[in-house]
Symmetry: C2
Subunit: 297 residues, 2 copies
Amino acid sequence: MKITLRQVEIFVAVADAGHFGRAAEALEISQPTVSQEVSRLERALGVALLDRSGRSAKLTQAGEAMATEGRQLLTHANQVVREVQLYEPSRIRTARIVASPSVVNRLLPAVISRAEQSLSSVRIEDVLVDTGGVTARLVSEHADIGLGRFLDATEGYESEVIVREQVFVAISRKHPLANAAHLELPELGDLPLLLWPREQNPAYFDYLLEICTSRGLSPLLLVSPPRIVGSRLYLLSESRAFSLVSAALIGHLPEDLIAIPLAQPATLALEMQWRSSDNRPQLTALRDLIREVASAG
Amino acid sequence: MKITLRQVEIFVAVADAGHFGRAAEALEISQPTVSQEVSRLERALGVALLDRSGRSAKLTQAGEAMATEGRQLLTHANQVVREVQLYEPSRIRTARIVASPSVVNRLLPAVISRAEQSLSSVRIEDVLVDTGGVTARLVSEHADIGLGRFLDATEGYESEVIVREQVFVAISRKHPLANAAHLELPELGDLPLLLWPREQNPAYFDYLLEICTSRGLSPLLLVSPPRIVGSRLYLLSESRAFSLVSAALIGHLPEDLIAIPLAQPATLALEMQWRSSDNRPQLTALRDLIREVASAG
DNA sequence: TAATTTTCATAGGCTAAGGCTATCTAAACT
DNA sequence: AGTTTAGATAGCCTTAGCCTATGAAAATTA
């Protein structure tokens, strides 16, 4: 059997923490996994690294050696990665992203910062913001990766749901129902639903409306002026109305709004889209990173 | 995503060979696996390592860097393993093996040489040879690992089949049937079956006999003198008789004998046994190695 | 330039490494 | 002795790393 960088990483964490449980926390994995992988490393080496007689993680002499050497090996590995990324040879060093406004606000900051940390070979150059025309921007070659809801399936383009989020009702804190644990939509009575003009993204528009009607509410509609991108919620603060928002937006609500779960839950999918033929490693890696960030919540 | 030592190893092989297919051969894996793992490495790095425009594996600048750095990283990793194995702390540096004669001859040489190469933490000290009493030697603490056929299941001891081999008829090259592609046992007529004294390993003895009777041959028995361990086959050269042997022995037959497959195939299991409580990494590692050698044929 | 060969990529399936939760055992502290 | 704490064990799930079979494209030959 052979040793793995992962096993070394885990063992080093244990050596650092002097403790399996704390090592597990530090690595954000479970304690049994740490136990298991340390044992695997020991049997791959054929050497006892820890003295299990007590209940603390005391290193044997070999363990000390492994910790020291292991740290160096991990550093070396990271060094190699950074080194190689400097030689990025492709003419296209930069990735261009189109995204709908809400996505831009919440997902992209994390993506950009993580990309700077660990993907020195990719630079995110343009970020286009477009509510309806995400797919169109891909097709017209203005962007390499599209992010949004209810994107158009198009020949030659892959699209994939990267996360599904719970739908919440956004409403003024002053509303009588503001403190409810969850909400049956009909309780809202004739409070109007704030939406953007349908043409901007008809499928999305219809889906939110469908959520209401299928739960027994045929709401009045309050349509926001076109082109007031990203500010639907601020408009909501001003008006007596409610809206439906995804879980990820909860942290970004204006002060005077509150998000309440639906009694009958519904979800909203966030999709990523790209040219099928585009398998440049820089972009594949960036797509991987976006998936990771999205599913980390 | 993170890079793996294995991915680096595979990429380095490609760089060395200048060719996916030949790299696959060198690593003894399939070509698609090489393709796949190289792509994975590229996307983990976010960098193109190879120029795929032609049909040869031309390295990009980043690829050159990865090859050089990668070779160093692999060397470093091996170095770490050797380094750590020097500090083997356990008092029991040595493993003691009991095995039946045929196993000693064919399996152990490979095990010992592989252990010296890659398990510097383990030294195989005693090799006891005992036809019948393998389990007894474990129980009496004379050995740590037992290898043989039809071992006795005993409380507190694990045992495990490590390989199943085809059974062949061993017979003189001068026998009229010596050139048959395969053999119905009754064709042997009243040629006697050479076996050791039943007491040495009754279950094994009975099993071989059962193979004959279930195929319609109730052979005469020629019983070898006790304690002539490992020489059943040489005895066979001298006498007009046949015997049943496992596939692994074919290469080790005396010149004047030949091995013929059975028309109705049968198999023979080789087992490994050890104290359940014995999980010293040195021995766990050695058991892993034995499994590997056994299944590699 | 059309056919053939060579070489890498893609598709789909299997196995085991690496992850999880739940639970057990044993050391250490009242 | 009883309780708490830490690590090991058991049983399950998901996906990396492997396979075979097949496809597509570059290079070679007819």
